[in-house]
Amino acid sequence: MLSSLPESFRAYGLAADIRTVLLLRKAMTRGMITTLGDMYNVLKGIVVKEPADMGPFTKAYYAYFLNIDVKTGETLEDAIQRSETFKQWKDTVLDEADKDTDLNMEDLVSRFLDEVHLTSYDIKEVVSGKELFDKNDADQPDEDEEDPNKDPVERELDRMADYSDLSLQELLDRLEKIQKQQKARHGGGSHWVGTGGISPYGHGGAAKNGIRVGGTGGGKMARKVMGDRNFFPIDRDALLNDNNIDAALASIKGVIEESAIEKLDVPKTIKTGLKRGGLFIPELSSDKNEELKVIVLIDNGGYSMAPYIRTVQNLFRKMKTRFAHDLETFYFHNTIYDYVYKDERRTQRMPVEKLLNYDKIYRVFFIGDSAMAPYELNAGSIESLQAIVKKFKKSVWLNPEPLRYWAGTYTIQVMQQIMPMFPLTPHGIERAVRKMNSRTGS
């Protein structure tokens, strides 16, 4: 019955496959899944492989098991309040609650979350609910109209149950049955939890004698996850900022030049020689060499570049500490004439000729918006730029300006003629590095 799970979880960019389902079934046979909250926890352990998976996972879980679709940028509370599942659940709760008790929306949502994320661990802490299954009759039709004469407490307990004493087959059969009953209401779908109490142990419970459960904060966590960017994958097309700097760093790694040379492996020679009882035959091993030589030229003049300077410096500083290789940073304003500057305030000038004396294997990153008055980009400046590009075959321009303005800016157009230009985003950087690597040699 969980056969559609991998497909729907994959739609959220998660690595779910048939093994996920098999593991889940294994967990069921070991009695680890007895509530919906358990399902969340176990699946989380199996499916989530890094913090950035948490957001999509929580979304996928709510969509698949509860039919609650959380839209991008929406809080979990809003999505829950919007959903049909919650409305039906709320109606049931309100029916059962004392008319006098005033239940505001916030409390209701919290209670809903508590019930969704209630785990068997919580239950074990409070009560051992063994007799519940006897009362829980799956054959009872899942009617909209409730029998008004029925004891509300009992009905709440009947709806859902702690499945801890069931065998796997019984559990699966049962889930299927509930699913079928709910099909009529939901109009199909693979969701096996719909209306009614999600668990009999509600927080203060619709049933008056419900048990207050402290909860392990699953609901609180789910809420937090939705509101925290760290739990979502990074938008690789967003302009470079403090959040996606590590993604950018990962893309820029590609500039490391790797070479391998064969050399005599002394320890290995000795070791294998000993194995042969003293017959030493030279063993060769390939020695990997990593080389990274980078010149970064940053346009730090004018207001247009100000927001990006710090992030760019951060990126290349991280790059330097992470890969510990030669990295030179120079500054310019709008375009390069005869000098670049060694310091941010542009007081120490360095002639372009000196820059051209660097080894030609250096890779050059120009970082700037390339927006200036057309007269600034005069013949002298273009000559300097062309000289740099000619010397350093691996030169690219990274531009923080949104891509849609490029076509409308004359100076960007001219600059693109001189060297390839990419957006200053993790994705753009990756493309720039690939471009650099493809033009090797010459």
Binding site: A27, M32, N41, V48, T119, T216, G218, K271, L274
Partner: protein, 300 residues
């Protein structure tokens, strides 16, 4: 039968319920638990305290940049083997020269290759049922190391070098394996797929208070509260290296000798802040943002 009871921490160790559940799940399913999270969230402490409180054997493999499967599983001691295999000749030569003393192989038999296999933590853990195996900071390992473990993890089996002896363990007796990582490098997907994953979030104020309580029950609550305020304020500054649990514990260790008022005065004056702030750039930042002169204190 594997130890699969639900474990929620010990006197010294406060185990977050989410982590306790993931840990329980991993043990029940016989899979390794991969824990990631910021430094100072108690990743390594979990298996150590678990083994201690349950009285189980603990095998630790601290991973380094030179780690390889040989060290982890077992290696064949070529030097000893070579020496022992030469011993009869040596002894004959010694006899010829009239020397009485004889060299011995120390009970090892050169005929039995298994005598020369030096078992690493993994082989030892697989050999003793229901032990605990900690693979610490696997992200420091060379890239191929996690991949080399795949077979052993999914088949619960190691093959010893040279002797060909097999060390295997049934799923029921599978040691509890805990793997920690600081996310310094991404682990291969195939490897992660064989583990139960848990990301430890940095504890909030209430939890931190409980952690401190477990370590220094003698420190006054008032003092802890003031220290926590400063601590979480510092964490919010966006420092390069934000202070962690370890740092605040050290800081409290430093002030705990003083009387309550004295300690609060020390904390508010950021005395001994060197215990919390670890880089020069961060120190300058704290100085700028909090307007005090932390440098002067860190000197003491």
């Amino acid at each position: 039968m594997a130890e699969t009871s639900y474990w929620t921490g010990s006197e010294k160790y406060l185990c977050d319920p989410q982590l306790a559940q993931a840990f329980h799940m991993a043990r029940t399913l016989g899979m390794p638990l991969l824990i990631e999270g910021e430094p100072g969230t108690g990743k390594t402490e979990l298996p150590l305290h678990y083994a201690e409180s349950k009285g189980l054997d603990l095998h630790v493999y601290p991973v380094g940049s030179k780690s390889n499967v040989e060290q982890f599983v077992a290696r064949f001691d070529h030097v000893k083997y070579l020496r022992d295999s030469q011993i009869e000749i040596l002894n004959a030569q010694r006899e010829e020269k009239g020397l009485d003393s004889k060299l011995s192989t120390g009970g090892r038999n050169p005929e039995l290759l298994a005598d020369y296999v030096a078992k690493g933590p993994a082989a030892k853990a697989y050999g003793s049922p229901n032990s605990v195996l900690l693979i610490d900071e696997i992200d420091k390992a060379p890239r191929e190391f996690p991949n080399d473990l795949l077979y052993a993890l999914s088949h619960r089996k190691f093959i010893m070098p040279e002797s060909g002896e097999e060390v295997s363990v049934s799923e029921q007796e599978m040691p509890t394996i805990v793997i920690t990582s600081n996310r310094e490098q991404e682990l291969p997907t195939a490897f992660k797929g064989r583990c139960i994953y848990h990301y430890i979030h940095f504890p909030d104020k209430e939890v931190m208070q409980q952690i401190i309580e477990k370590h220094y029950p003698e420190v006054e609550e008032k003092v802890v509260k003031v220290a926590l305020d400063v601590f979480y304020h510092l964490r919010r500054l966006g420092l390069e290296r934000a202070p962690t649990t370890r740092e605040i514990l050290n800081w409290l260790k430093y002030v705990r000798e003083a009387s309550t008022e004295e300690a609060i005065r020390k904390i508010q004056g950021l005395e001994g802040i060197g215990a919390l702030i670890k880089t020069q750039a961060d120190m300058e930042r704290v100085h700028r943002m909090l307007g005090s002169d932390p440098m002067q204190f860190s000197m003491n």
